[in-house]
Structure formats: C-alpha cells, structure tokens
C-alpha cells in the first residue's frame, strides 16, 4: 500500500553499476551453445509452433510432495520397512501365516498394521499439506501473451517455455524469464532475490537493447525470437545463451535472466520470455534436501534396539537348543518318552528324529514369540510425541516476537531432544546477537570527535568496570532514555540515526572551526553510495533503498544534518544542502561519472563526480586498514587524531569507516576514464582484476576527512541470555566477520567476556609477518604465519594447563580469521580445539562463511559433543547445516538461513527458553520415554520367556494371542505418550532459575547406559517377580472354595493383569507430574484392560477361545485372584521404589534437587 504512493524516479541506472552491469559480449562460453549441456532451444511467442512441439519441455507446475496417489502406497511402505524393527515385525507377521507361529496370524498382523497405518496416515497428511501448498503456488496468476498483442491472466502452471509474460510490480516471477523490456527506457529492472540467497538488497537486471523498445502490449503481436541456451542447472549466478532476433544473433548472460521466486521491485512492469519452467528453473534445481539430522538419543536408541535384538537372538537360541534337546529325547530307539505328544508321528516342527531341523524352525518361532522385547509402537510413539513437542515450541507465546509478528518455528521435529544436549553454541554476530539495524552514532571530522551518544558496549563496560562515576552517569542516561521512551509524545526516533551533538545538529556545524571539512564530510556521505531515494508523495519524506543498512545509515545521517539527497537520475545526484555563507538551503546537482564498487577484497567504494563548477572529485570511503595507506602526504593532517578516535570507536563496539576525497583534474580523469572503459568493455577473463588495478591507481593520494562510527545494536536481552547460557555451562562461541576490537567489545557488551577473564589472543598482526607481507613472498608468509600460530596456541595451552589445578581463572580465546586458517590445519587443529574447549569463551573474528562451517565441524567431530549453530544470513548456511542443530534467526536478512535451519526463532534471546526449557523438557521426555518403553516391553517379554522355561521351550505363549498383540498398542502405550508429551520434572520457571539443570542433558545423565541398563534390569526383575509370585501362589492347589484348580487360561490372565498394573503403576511412581491427562491415561489403561477382559470374555467361545468368561466366572468372584494380584503388584514395585527413594534422598540429580527446593519453598511459604 505504502509503496503505491511513492514515486520512483525514472532513470537509467545502467551506468551506476559500472562493474556489475557491463555489455554482454560473446565470450568463450558462448561457443558451447548448441553443444553438450547447452542444447536448449526456446522459440519465443509461438504457442503451438512446430519447434515448440519438438522440444517438449516440462510445464510450469511444481511438485514438492514426496508421493503421488499412485506411488504413495508402495513408497511409504518401503520407507516404513526400511527401519530394522519394522522390517523384523513384517517378517514376523508374514511368518505368522505359517505353521511356525506361536499365535494366530491376525493377532500378529493387526498391531503392525495399526502402527504402519497410523504412520502412513501421518505421512499422508504431511504430504497433503505440501500438495495444498503446491496447488496454491501453481494456481498463482500471471499475465500471459495470448497472441495478437493481447495479454490475459492465466495460472502459473499453464505457462510454457517460449511464452511471453508481463510481470507487474511486487509480483514474483513465475518461471525463469529472459528480460525483454521494462517500464524503464533501457530495459532495466530491480529484483529482490531474498527467497533465493537471502539478500535483501535490490539487484539490477537489464534486457538487451534490441528488445528494450517493446514497451507496449501490442508490440508483441509479431515478436519472434529464438533463444538457444544452456540446459537447466543449479547455478544461480551464471547463464549462457544467445538470442536470434531479426537477422542478428545476440549474446545473453545472467544479466538478462529473471529467476523464479525472486520479486520485481521498484519497476512498474517487465516483459519476459519464459526460458525455464517448473522443475527446470534454477531455484528448484538448486533446492537440495537439507541434510537429514538425527538426534543423539535416537542414534543411541538404535544401539539399544540392536542390543535388544542380541538379547532376543540369544534367548531364542538358548530356547531352541534346549527345545532341540528335549525334543530329541522324546523318542529314543522307538520308545516314546512324552507319549502324549505322539513324537512318533510328528510334524517336522516337533520331530525328534529331525531334532536339528525342529530346533532351527523353533528358533524362528521363538524369534516371533519374543518380539515383545522390541516395542513395536516405539517409532510411531516417538514420532507422535515429537510432532506434539514441536507444536509446543511453535505455539509458545513466550517465543513469539510481537514486533515482527513471528513465532518460533520448528521446521523439523527430529531434533527436539537434541536441544537439551547442546554443549557448544556457535553464533553469528551481526543480525544474530545484534539487530542488524545500523545507527549512525558518532563521527570524527577533522580530528574532532562528535556525537554524545553512549553505546551499549560502553554501558556494559562501565558496568563491568564498576566505576561509580561512569555508572552514575550511565544510570542517569538510562533513566533519561527510559523517560523519553515512556513519555507518550516523544519524537519518533529516526531509524538508523542516533546521533546527538548540538555542535553539528540544526545547522550549527557552520560555526565549527573546520566547517569546510564538515561540509565535505557530509557531502561525501550524501553522494558516495548506491542508494536510491524514495519520495513519499504525501508527506514529502525521503527514504532510501540501500544495499546495506550501513549505507542507509550514512545517507540518513547526511539527510539529518542537512545534506538531503533526494533525486538520482541516470547521470546525476541531486541534493539540498545548507549553504554555509548564505545560510539558505540550496539545490546542488552532482554529475556522476563513475562508481567504483565496494567488494570485500577492496574494502572501499568510490564515486567520481563533477560538481556544478566543473570540478571533478573522487570521493572514497573504506575500512581503516586500506584507507590510511592511501592518504596523500598533505592529506594526513588529522591522521593521528582520527586514528585515535577510530580506536576509541572500535573499543566502544562501533563499526568505523574512513572518509577521504581527492580532487582530479580533467586530464587525469580523462586518462582514467579511457582506460577504465576500455577495460570494462574488454572480453578477457581477468577483466575484474584489470578493473581493480585501474581503480586502485585512482584511489591514491587521498585527503583525509574523518571517520564515521555506526552502532549495530545488541538485540534485547542478549546479555542476559548469554549469561543464563553460561550458567548452564553451555559454551558460546561467536564467529563474526568483524574487526578484532569490535568483536572483543561486543563480547564484553553481551557478557561473553568479563573483566578478570584472561584473554588469549591469537592473531597475525605482528611486525615480522607484516614485514613479510610487504615483501610479498607468499610461501614465506604462510610458513611464518603457521609457525607463529602454532607458537601462540602452544603458549596459550601452557597458560591454561598451568592454571588448571589451581584457581578459578577463566580464559577467553580470541582468534582472527587469518590465524584460524592455519589453526584449522590438520596438524594443529586438535591442539587448537583442546585450547578452545578449555576456554570459557571463544571469539573468532574476521571469519569467512566457510571457516564458520569448518569450526563447527571441528567442534562436532573433535569433541563429539552436540553443537548448535545460530545465524541469520546466507553466510551462516554452511554452519547451520554442519551443526547438530541449526537455528535460524528469522530476522531482516531474508529467509536463506531460516530455510536451511532446523528451528527458526525470531530473536536470539528466545534461545534461552528454547534450550533451557523446551530443550531440557524434550530431552527428559524423550529419554525417559524410551527407557520406559524398553522397561515395559522387557517386563512383558521376559514373563513370556520364563513361561517358556516351564513349557519345555515349545513356543507356547502364556497369554492369549490378543493379549499379546494388544499389549503394546492399548494397555501400555498411551501413558508413555502422555509422558513424552507432558512430563515436566521442573516447571519452566525453575528451569530458567537453575540453568545448571541443563547439564543433565549435556552430560546425558538421563540417557546414560547406566540408567538405561538399570531400567532394563528393573524390567527383568519385575518380570521375574511377577512370574514366580503368580505361579507359586496359584499352583498347584485349589484356586477357589469349590476346589477347582487354575489352568493355563486363568494363570495367563492373572499374570497379565499383574503386568498391566505393575507397568502402569511403575509409570505413576516414576513421574512427578500428574495432569488430568496422565491420570486418565494411566488409570484408564488399567481400567481398559478390565473392560477389555469383560468384553472379550463375553464374546462367544468361538472368538474368545480360552478367555471365554474367564474373568467373570472363574477369577473375579474368588478372593484368590484379588489377593494374589494385589500382593504381586505391590511387592513387585517395592524394590524399584526403594531404589528411587534412596537415590532421591541421598544421590539426588539436579532436577531432583530442584524439586526439593521447590517443595521446601512451598512448605515454608504456602501461598
């Protein structure tokens, strides 16, 4: 809406971007057109033409679903049975149809089908959601040339290669298009590629000159062209092709290519020819599945399952051997031993004469019988629980960011519990710890420092230094700013500008001693940039579209001081400025001659302008490291002071730039311009290098004006959050591209570094290396650097190990990117890692995206601990994908980081809640859930085994078939799911109050082998107790007053009842958190068992077989049943209960201690 009211100034920008946007000429690449990999032929604007038929390219519909209707069943089934456990159950289910089976086939297949069916339904729903999204995308509207110059709306999916489409402002491109013309004369347009690479700045695209006149709809009536280009590929930044238009052939490059999913900005409309559609488009070719990550708990769980498989195979083997022996003995020399089994006329499964075969077949039976050791519903329950846990994360109000209207988003539910085990956090700085909104706060002009603002870093430094005076002043300042913030009619703060100094503001600068320098300074800020002004027609306010927030801050600063840049035409920059002599606002126009662009190796940008009086200036701004050496002898007047100020600013955590200028005479400029345009239009591969060389020659002998300082404000709550994370003993490593001083100071302001911490700084800014650099021998530099880094690391190591035993000294390691390159080399990295992991804080400055990923990998593989990476920009993607958990900040820098993250949050400070509360809970839930799962299945499975011992291992289960199969599904699964979803050892408040609780996850206390095995042992003990108590109490005497004895059916039901009770009560004893849901599930499961028993027993005997009326007739009326179950249940629980009491009283874990604290506070202070 707002955008519609604004007016864009029509102009030709093709000249501003002198580097990026040159003329495309045929280069080597173009010779490959038509050859292998470059075979695509697009016939434009001829729907249904012959050629169009030959090259039947895919249509423009996209499909992100995993399955189609046809493939859903086989594909999802295949996915399911790829899991070892599921496959095992499938084999068991198939075998159940043979004679080997110990139970009926239906009872074996049913639970498996329920589980598989439920999982498939879940998959189906997820896929349906994707399908709906696809439909939405495919049915977006685009304007298509229907022929005869008529354009009509159509759906995206109907677009075909060769179509001509018209895209309006702020619309997405429906496919990869070749830009033909735009609303601008020279066929330029602006494109926002946020969805592709996360960059928010606008990119300029320009169509070919020959097509740039096609402004009107009707002109497409007889437009014909043939485009030959490369085949679909994933490279976003390159494109090779040619267009045959008229009689001529024109080269095409990426400058003419508009990519799908990017957005048209600041341009009213464009016309384009569809080149790549649907899955051929670069963005979809580029979308790779994110690496699938599994949590440590799940990996360990696999091991437990394998362990259980071993147990299972072992007992099956033992059983088979014993079975084989007893079977063989049944018939010796024709004499039958157990004659009642008719061993003389037996099937192969029980044939004494083929005892080996019988034993082998029996082992299969046993494997089926003991499958209850493996929880069939485990995977499914885990998935359900994780989905619900993710919903909790997504729905947490406390992680909802009001200002950006964003909530947390768990993009994968696989890693919830991994959040509870994070040992090291690797964080980006800009945009993650800070807001990435730059504010112009200070400047130094002509050696005088201006700007009275206090940065957050200074506040933090003041606090940690504890200097009372500074503290007081800061307090006052804070008070004041709070007052200002709270007062309702305060002046709206200007975004990007936080500069207060009465000497400069309101035109007062004219009275300063160096007014002329100040004038040049701000004029430079107003001219030397690539921002585009946007004038709000209603209010006349000017805002700027800039490539980076820094740049916007400068233009805004200039505007606020009185150098109001308001108009950019293709060759001119217009601004209003205060004339110091007359005191009036005058209009000035500068003719823009050249732009020497910024890039990370140049670290500076310059413009060459001609003012109204015909003087030519080169205006340059850049990093201090490159600028000071470029100053002219006579331009160093303020060097010393400025340098000092720049250091101060860096200390205050500010980003600084040096401004300088130079006046050129006509001839000098002409010489440069000739050379520059020659190089620019050259075809050679090293064009860029040549251009750099040419510009480098110009950007010398500069005259220093001063320095700017912008503050990148810390996000709210970052220091507190880092403090909490430190208390939780999570290591926070900051990897940033900033200068070392800035990084260190940010470190202080976010409490990563504290006063009294010993800083170990590893860098290569030492004289010897610098000397070598001057000499330029690369090999010598590398060698010396390597040695130096090695030396520094080992020195640091010595320092650390010296203090290890003795005192509380904490260390911080600070390393710069250059040193890091060497430190990450194979021979040094372990030493480096050891040093780094002993240090409480770690800051790496001037690091590249690749280094970020490398450091992450080093930590992950080197320590084996869980790493979490957090970042917001495209440069963090590698790090996010490399780490065990990647957290994306859904901030201003676009979606790239979020798209490759596992969980997205809006602000860094939510990390505290995400880890300490959700992470801790999820970890705890998942680990206790898995432990409990194994416990309950072992308890059940082992009673079956014990029964086998008394049934000569014949494979006869002690329970009815349906009891067997429904155990995992109905009588014991819901309470576990409730545990996995709802359990809280400690409330969120206490989680945050005692961050040390988090260490339980890091040290993996709740899922240690000790704990897992003790749960398993508990299962074995419970099973043994249940079995022996039941059998000893019930057999062999009369069961009731009428003298009848209990048979297999009654014994089975009694034992099963005990198992259901014990398993559910054990759960009730193990958890410390009962909501209504838990009560319903636990008591409901037990109640349901009795109900089931009644219902099943009431069915006709043909269905209920030996359970017919067993409960209502033979068990319930007689006290024996109740007395026995009561005894068995209570006494089976006593050992584990006593153990947990002893553990809770004498060896409390962290969470238990916190539970005590909560309990005692409540007791002493009952609210």
């Amino acid at each position: 809406m707002r955008r519609g009211k604004r007016r864009m100034i029509k102009l030709k920008f093709s000249k501003i971007y002198s580097f990026a946007c040159g003329k495309t000429s045929f280069q080597r690449d173009h010779s490959r057109i038509g050859g292998h990999g470059h075979s695509r032929v697009v016939v434009c604007n001829e729907p249904g033409s012959f050629e169009g038929e030959i090259f039947s390219y895919a249509d423009n519909s996209v499909r992100s679903t995993k399955y189609t209707v046809a493939t859903f069943l086989p594909k999802s089934l295949f996915e399911q049975f790829r899991r070892v456990a599921n496959f095992y159950f499938l084999v068991a289910g198939i075998l159940a149809f043979t004679k080997l089976t110990p139970y009926t086939a239906v009872s074996a297949i049913l639970p498996l089908s329920i589980i598989i069916g439920a999982t498939m339904v879940k998959e189906g729903i997820e896929d349906w959601r994707r399908k709906k999204q696809d439909i939405e995308v495919n049915n977006r509207r685009a304007i298509l040339h229907k022929g005869d110059g008529l354009f009509e709306y159509t759906e995206w999916k109907n677009l075909r290669v060769g179509n001509i489409v018209k895209i309006m402002k702020d619309e997405f491109f429906p496919a990869d298009l070749l830009l033909l013309s735009s609303s601008y004369e020279d066929a330029v347009c602006y494109v926002e590629t946020m969805n592709l690479d996360g960059e928010t700045n606008l990119k300029l695209k320009q169509g070919l000159e020959v097509t740039s006149s096609l402004h009107e709809d009707f002109k497409f009536h007889d437009f014909r062209a043939v485009i030959k280009c490369e085949d679909p590929n994933a490279n976003l930044y390159s494109f090779v092709g040619s267009m045959e238009f008229g009689e001529q052939k024109y080269p095409l490059s990426a400058h003419q290519l508009l990519l799908r999913d990017s957005k048209l900005r600041n341009t009213d409309y464009v016309f384009g020819a569809v080149i790549f559609t649907g899955h051929d488009t670069k963005v979809i070719q580029n979308s790779t599945d994110p690496p699938s990550k599994r949590s440590k708990i799940e990996k360990k769980m696999d091991k437990i399952i394998y362990l259980l498989f071993c147990v299972l195979f072992l007992i099956a083997f033992v059983g088979s051997v014993l079975f084989g022996i007893t079977t063989k003995r049944d018939l010796v020399n024709g004499i039958m031993k157990r004659w009642y089994l008719r061993p003389d006329s037996s099937t192969v499964f029980f044939d004494p004469e083929r005892a080996y075969a019988a034993a082998i077949f029996h082992s299969l039976t046993a494997l089926m019988l003991y499958n209850f050791f493996i929880p069939i519903s485990l995977y499914f329950s885990i998935e359900i629980v994780k989905v619900l846990q993710s919903i909790f994360i997504n729905r947490d109000i406390r992680m909802y960011y009001e200002e950006a209207n964003k909530r947390a988003l768990a993009r994968t539910s696989n890693l919830n519990e991994e959040l509870g085990q994070v040992d090291t956090i690797l964080s980006d700085k800009t945009g993650t710890l800070t807001c990435n909104s730059m504010e112009f706060i200070k400047c130094s002009v002509a050696g005088v420092a201006y700007g009275r603002g206090v940065t957050e870093v200074e506040q933090a430094l003041g606090r940690s230094n504890g200097s009372p005076i500074l503290n007081e002043s800061i307090n006052r300042l804070e008070l004041k700013s709070n007052e200002i913030r709270d007062s309702p009619d305060r002046k709206e703060p200007i975004e990007g500008f936080n500069f207060t100094d009465e000497r400069i503001m309101n035109g007062n600068w004219v009275h300063e001693p160096h007014a002329d320098v100040i004038q040049k300074f701000f004029r430079l800020l107003a001219v030397c940039h690539t921002a585009i002004p946007v004038v709000d027609e209603e209010t006349g306010n000017i805002s700027y579209e800039a490539e980076s927030p820094d740049e916007a801050a400068f233009v805004i600063a200039a505007r606020e001081v009185g150098f109001k840049f308001y108009k950019r035409t293709q060759t001119c920059l217009s601004m209003y400025e205060l004339d110091p002599i007359s005191g009036n606002e005058v209009e000035r126009t500068y003719k823009l001659l050249n732009v020497l662009e910024y890039n990370s190796s140049r670290k500076r940008m310059s413009v060459i302008v001609k003012d109204e009086r015909g003087r030519i200036f080169l205006l340059c701004k850049g990093a201090d490291s490159v600028m000071f050496e470029r100053l002219a002898e006579n331009g160093r007047k303020y060097e010393e002071k400025t340098l000092e100020h720049v250091r101060e600013y860096a200390d205050a955590g500010l980003r600084t730039l040096i401004l300088a200028y130079r006046e050129l005479d006509e001839e000098e400029y002409k010489e440069f311009d000739d050379k520059f345009s020659e190089v620019k239009n050259s075809v050679s591969a090293d064009r860029e290098t040549l251009m750099e060389e040419v510009s480098d020659k110009m950007e010398r002998n500069l005259i220093l004006l001063g320095a700017t300082a912008v503050e990148d404000k810390l996000q709210n709550g970052v220091p507190d959050c880092i403090d909490k994370l430190a208390q939780a003993k999570i290591k926070v490593w900051v990897l940033t591209g900033d200068k070392m001083e800035t990084a260190i100071n940010i470190g202080f302001s976010c409490r990563l570094l504290r006063q009294g911490m010993k800083q170990i700084i590893i860098h290569l800014e030492i004289p010897e290396i610098q000397a070598l650099e001057k000499a330029g021998d690369k090999r010598a530099i590398a060698k010396a650097s390597r040695e130096s880094v090695h030396h520094q690391i080992s020195e640091g190591g010595k320092l650390v190990s010296a203090s290890r035993g003795t005192c509380q000294q904490t260390f911080a390691l600070i390393i710069d990117g250059k040193s890091l390159t060497y430190a990450l080399e194979d021979d040094m990295k372990n030493m480096f890692l050891e040093l780094a992991s002993y240090c409480a804080s770690f800051i790496c400055c001037r690091s590249s995206p690749k280094q970020k990923a490398l450091v992450t990998r080093l930590v992950k593989s080197g320590t084996g601990k869980t790493t979490l990476a957090i970042g917001d920009g495209a440069n963090d993607v590698g790090m996010l994908q490399e780490a065990d958990v990647g957290i994306g900040i859904s901030g201003v820098e676009g979606m790239q980081a979020v798209m490759s993250s596992d969980i997205a949050i809006a602000q860094f400070r939510y990390l505290e809640r995400l880890l300490l509360v959700h992470g801790h809970w999820c970890y705890r839930r998942m680990s206790s859930m898995i432990c409990y799962f194994f416990y309950k299945n072992i308890t059940f499975g082992f009673t079956l085994f014990l029964y086998e011992v008394y049934a000569s291992f014949s494979g006869q289960p002690g329970y009815n078939d349906w009891f067997l199969s429904l155990y995992s599904v109905f009588f014991s699964s819901l309470p576990v799911i409730a545990l996995g979803v709802l359990d809280q050892d400690v409330s969120a408040r206490y989680c945050l109050k005692f961050p040390i609780l988090y260490q339980e996850g890091v040290q993996n206390v709740l899922f240690s082998w000790r704990l897992i095995l003790s749960w398993m042992l508990n299962g074995f003990i419970s099973a043994t107790m249940i079995f022996f108590f039941c059998t000893k109490a019930i057999e062999p005497q009369a069961f009731d007053k009428e003298g009848r004895t209990a048979g297999r059916d009654m014994m089975g039901v009694t034992m099963y009842t005990c198992v259901v009770w014990v398993v559910n009560l054990q759960m009730a004893l193990a958890i410390r958190y009962f909501t209504l849901i838990q009560h319903i599930f636990i008591w409901g499961s037990i109640g349901f068992w009795y109900l089931f028993l009644l219902a099943y027993g009431a069915m006709p005997p043909s269905m209920s077989t030996n359970v017919y009326k067993v409960f209502i007739e033979t068990l319930a009326p007689y006290p024996s049943f109740w007395v026995v179950t009561f005894f068995v249940v209570i006494s089976t629980l006593i050992p584990s209960f006593s153990c947990s009491v002893i553990q809770m009283w004498f060896f409390p874990m962290y969470h238990q201690t916190v539970q005590w604290i909560r309990y005692e506070r409540k007791k002493s202070n009952p609210e």
Partner: protein, 344 residues
C-alpha cells in the same frame, strides 16, 4: 510464508489491527501450564507409604496363613508304590493289559469337613506344550455339525478314515487312573458332578455331541469315553481339557461329601492305568478341604507377612535415617557448578 495461513485464520480478534497476528493463542495445554499435582518423595510420604503397605499386608498375610493352615490336605504319592515290586520294566507293565489294581490306605490326621475334594496331581507332564495345547478342535467339541473339523488334531484326527470325537492329543491322553474310597468297608461316594466350570459345560462342550470313534487309533492313549453320554456331561474330560499352566498340576477328580474324622483310615482302591513312567512323572492322590482362599498353600500368607515385615523394616530404617542424619534436601548449594549430577 507457508505458515501464515494457518496462524492467521485462527485469530478471531475483532480489533482489525490484530487480525493478521501470528501470536499463538493462549491455552493452558499449548503453553504447558496445565494444572498438575507434583508429588515428591518426601520422607513423610515415603515412610507412611511403607507403613501403610505393612499395615495392610500383615493382616492379609495372617488371614491367608490361617486360611491355608486350616485346610487339611492328604497327599499320597503312588506311582512307584502301585507297581509290583517284581516289575522291572515299568513302562511295559503299565502298557500291558494286566490288572493294575492297587490298594492304598490314607490316615486322616485331622478332622476334614465336607466337601472333601479329591485331586490327582501329575508331575513333569507338559500340558502346556505347544503341540499339545494346539491339538484340539473347539468347534468339534461345541457343535455336532463340526465333527469333521479336525485339522488341528493331527495325528489324532481320524481313525479308520473317520473323524475322532473328541479329537486331538489332549482328549486322547485323558487321565485314566480311577479311585474308589472306603472308610472301613463302607464305600465313600465320590461325586463327580460339578467339578468343571459351568461355562465349559454349557458353551464349550456340546450337549448333543457324543464321543465317536474315540481311542480307536493304532496307539491307545488314556481313558475311553462312554459314547452314550454327551461331552457336556463328561466332566473328567472337561477338566482335563482345560490345560494346566505348568508341568506340575492338580486336577479335580471329584468330591467326597461326608466329613472325615481324625483317626479315620481311608482305603483307596485305585486303577493305576496312566502311563507317567515313560517320562518319569510322579502321580499323587490328594484329598483336601478348602478355605475362602482355595487349597493349602502357605506361600501367599508367608509372602504377605514377609513383604509386610520388610516394609515395616524399611519404614523404620528410613525413619532412623531421617531423624539421625537429617539432610537439607533442597539445599541450592548442591547445585554447585563443579559437582557432577547423579553421583557420576
């Protein structure tokens, strides 16, 4: 972007400004703030729990023990005594058609109030063997028309080409020792009615299903059945066909419905027909009264008392620990930074 629709649609806030908010709706469930009780193992709770268990267990144990002790039980093991001493091959003897009558006498040491239940107890007999358990046809037992469904009964499914009713190994191996009791010379009637469960008689064994072709196969198993009596009244068979859970089991043989007095001598004439010698199983004759808790078995009573006592002891021990060495359990200093949790 994709999630916007889901969140936006849910909000019904009338104020237009808030309409597009993604703010999650508050509910106690999604915010994980459901009201919950959080019991904790406090000393008081633990000690009272143990005391409670012992208070409940000890009386039950006493009652169970008394009940068990009140039951008078006479057990007589006869499988070797009923083999003439000159027989060396016991299996051949038992399979022979010789007269296997055996007379034993039982001394009643304590007054036995009627009804007195007569059991036979077998040992090392795997009625729970899978081959055995499966070898039966419930349809056939229940329904006259299902006579032919004998597929599960092999090898005792057919004899002479006709289906066996009742088929299968279980029926085939029916126990066939018989007992008759005399006090002095007076015959004590053994009532064999009502020794099985009603549901079995009424629903599992058909009133119109008669034994047919039974024990006619090559090898003779156990008892024969009177072909004129329907299965629902063949209670010995019904009892036998409810297979036992464990290899040592008792099955009800009948009831003696007169009191036996202390000092009485009961003479038993038994036909020792059943072959347990092949698999060296023991045979016992058991006469027993019952209590409310069934037959004589001290296990339950003793177990209750033991566990009750153990709980009392535990309660005591925990009390002592609690009073002698009280600990500030909720001391935040336990959460010190350098301590490992869980006593690692």
């Amino acid at each position: 972007m994709a999630s916007s629709s889901a969140a936006g649609a849910g909000s019904t806030d009338p104020t237009a400004a808030r309409r597009n908010t993604k703010r999650p709706k508050y509910s106690k469930f999604t915010q994980q703030e459901l009201p919950a009780c959080k019991p904790i193992l406090t000393p008081r709770a633990v000690i009272s729990a143990f005391l409670l268990v012992s208070v409940v267990f000890v009386p039950i144990g006493v009652a169970a023990l008394i009940a068990s002790r009140k039951v008078v039980e006479i057990v007589y093991r006869y499988e070797s005594k009923c083999i003439p001493s000159n027989v060396t091959d016991r299996v051949a003897y038992i399979q022979s058609s010789a007269d296997k009558t055996c007379r034993i006498s039982l001394d009643v040491t304590k007054h036995m109030k009627s009804p007195i239940y007569v059991y036979y107890q077998l040992d090392n007999f795997y009625q729970n063997h899978r081959r055995y358990v499966k070898s039966r046809s419930d349809e056939q037992l229940r329904d006259r028309s299902e006579e032919g469904s004998t597929s599960a009964c092999k090898p005792e499914d057919t004899a002479n080409g006709k289906p066996i009713v009742p088929c299968g190994l279980i029926a085939w191996s029916l126990f066939n020792d018989t007992y008759s009791f005399f006090r002095g010379n007076k015959n004590l009637t053994v009532n064999k009615k009502g020794i099985s469960w009603k549901s079995d008689r009424e629903h599992k064994f058909g009133k119109d299903v008669f034994p047919k072709n039974f024990q006619n196969s090559s090898i003779r198993g156990g008892a024969s059945l009177n072909e004129s009596i329907p299965l629902s009244e063949q209670e010995d068979l019904i009892v036998w066909m409810r297979t036992a859970a464990l290899p040592t089991f008792r099955k009800l043989y009948g009831k003696i419905e007169v009191d036996l007095n202390e000092g009485d001598t009961i003479n038993v004439t038994l036909q020792n027909n059943y072959n347990t010698y092949s698999f060296s199983g023991r045979k016992k004759l058991v006469l027993s009264t019952t209590s409310w808790l069934g037959g004589k078995n001290d296990f339950l009573g003793i177990a209750y008392l033991t566990v009750g006592g153990l709980c009392f002891f535990l309660a005591l021990a925990f009390t002592i620990v609690y009073f002698v060495k009280p600990r500030q359990l909720g001391d935040p200093s336990y959460l010190s930074w350098n301590r490992n949790p869980g006593g690692h």
